[in-house]
């Protein structure tokens, strides 16, 4: 073996297929599965159970079949608005999220001076809690003295100064911007790790062949890193489909539902509407779970197909 290349997916096919050491396998899996059974499966099942019931006063449960689903899909405009917002977010945000992360990683890889300093600074937003990030950016977006508007006024563009979080047209994009700000550093770190794992002899060979920076990037590095990038995109997508904390702190779903996401709507129905009924919010959660899962699986399958074809 010449060099380590933890990048080839073909290893799966060469695994042993007979004589599995079952006791050891179970030992490895048992803690995870136990934890999972106790703390994840149970709530999950209860959610699905709740979605076909209405919880009436005094804990009485009434089976309602698909009534909640029907109401959700035909008589709930807020739900559809939240779906639209969430989908916009989940489709638009992963691209800058991962893209900027990749670019930053490339900068570090290209041995920019003070790389270590930059790495820590660029990663710092990831370390902050949503409460902190939300508060800071609410101050930034503040109409009167926030940095965003002050900057605009300073360069003479005061006409563009906005109530960023108060205007339905800009609220969603403002919150999205903040969210990407927070997370792109994480993608940077993962891309950096992947870059370091690239097989150096291929890169050397390419540069010997007089292959320019850009072509090396597009035709060699990215294809080899593809699996990592894909994972990041899918993770980012799933994360955006579930986004809650930041929206909750910055806008609470307003103004006029322009930042309402499926998760914030679920929370409101479960905790803020004057009812203890868990049935309806469970319906939303159950439905959304299926939707996101379907997306994640199809994306995964779609890209892995391409992957497999190349080998």
């Amino acid at each position: 073996m010449a060099i380590s290349r933890p990048a080839a997916p073909a290893t799966r096919a060469r695994r042993r297929s007979a004589g599995q050491p079952w006791p050891v396998i179970l030992l490895f899996l048992a803690p995870a599965l136990l934890l999972y059974l106790g703390f994840t499966i149970d709530p999950a099942f209860r959610t699905f159970y709740n979605s076909v019931h209405t919880i009436k006063p005094r804990g009485v449960e009434e089976f309602v079949g698909l009534a909640h689903f029907r109401e959700l899909l035909t008589a709930d405009p807020v739900f559809w608005k939240s779906v639209a917002n969430t989908m916009i977010w989940a489709v638009a945000a992963p691209i800058p999220d991962v893209g900027i992360g990749l670019l930053l990683a490339l900068c570090l890889y290209a041995k920019v001076p003070l790389a270590r300093f930059f790495r820590v600074v660029w990663f710092t937003p990831v370390l902050l809690s949503y409460v902190v990030v939300g508060i800071i950016w609410m101050w930034v977006y503040n109409f009167e003295w926030g940095v965003a508007n002050e900057l605009l006024r300073w360069v003479g563009l005061s006409g563009l100064a906005h109530s960023w979080l108060g205007d339905p047209k800009t609220a969603l994009w403002s919150v999205m911007f903040t969210h990407v700000w927070k997370w792109t550093g994480f993608n940077m770190v993962v891309c950096l790790a992947a870059l370091y794992a690239l097989p150096t002899e291929i890169l050397e060979a390419a540069s010997l062949d007089n292959c320019g920076w850009a072509r090396r990037l597009v035709f060699i590095m990215i294809p080899i890193m593809w699996r990592t990038l894909l994972n990041l995109l899918i993770l980012s997508f799933i994360g955006k489909m579930r986004v809650f904390d930041l929206v909750w702190i910055m806008t609470g779903g307003g103004p006029l539902w322009s930042t309402e996401t499926v998760s914030t709507y679920v929370y409101k129905r479960a905790f803020e509407w004057n009812t203890f009924d868990l049935g309806y919010p469970s319906t939303i959660a159950a439905l959304w779970f299926v939707v996101v899962l379907a997306f994640a699986l199809s994306l995964s399958w779609l890209f892995r197909q391409r992957d497999r074809l190349e080998y």
């Binding site: 703390f39 709530p43 930059f118 809690s129 409460v131």
Partner: protein, 275 residues
Amino acid sequence: MGFAGVARQTVLLTAVALYTALAGAPVLWVAMMSLRTTSEIAAAPFGWPSPAHWGKYWTVWTTSHYDTYFWNSTVIVAGAVAGLTLIGSMAAHALARYRFRGNRVIYFVLFSAIIFPPQLTIISLFQVLVEYGLFNTRLGVSLVYMAIQLPLTFYLLEGFFAQIPQDYFDAAKIDGCSELGMYWRLTVPIGMPAIATTVILNLIELWNEFLYAVVLVTDDDKRTLPLGIMRFLGDKLEDVGMIATGMMIAILPVILVYAFLSERLIRGMTASVLK
């Protein structure tokens, strides 16, 4: 380096500088505010702290139960992250190394849990904890934290472990290495960059976790740090100065841990290249 090269370098450095400002300035702002009083901030939001009220850190630490919250957070999160790393890596190793029927099914089941919205499962989790007598305990919170971060941890580790060439393991097997040994002496060291990544990620998410902490703990002496910050945020005018100080106390440990761990991460990454 020709003209194109210089131009490229300039663009690169400008982009780097701009992004650094974007990423770092907000935190710097909070750091400055943490040393000023609220009235000073109201008068001039972007001013430099003069005088720098270092005493505020001490005030926050001693008067708002911050020391208790800090301790609770440390205990709960450290326990959860340790447990997660062990459990997650074992499960990831098992599914990445061994081929058996049901492998993909288990993978799918563990992975799909990522998608559930915590806002809803929190109620049943609460009931589960009550049934086990773990409600309002630090252990209970720790276990819940493990459960919620397990899918992601597992997913990231499995993806990485699966890419470790089988040849290493075949060679080790020939050398008489046990199954556990292969896990401990091969997967873990080689997979260190991924493990370190998940440790950092879990640390960040759990250190800052808020929703479950509010609901699953009612005793003030068991509360965690994020709740401490929320104390300043009440209804009335935010005590901006105190909030900033409180935030810095919450931020600094994470940054320090990251700074320390990231060195190992880079060392791990470069080491695996050289091997």
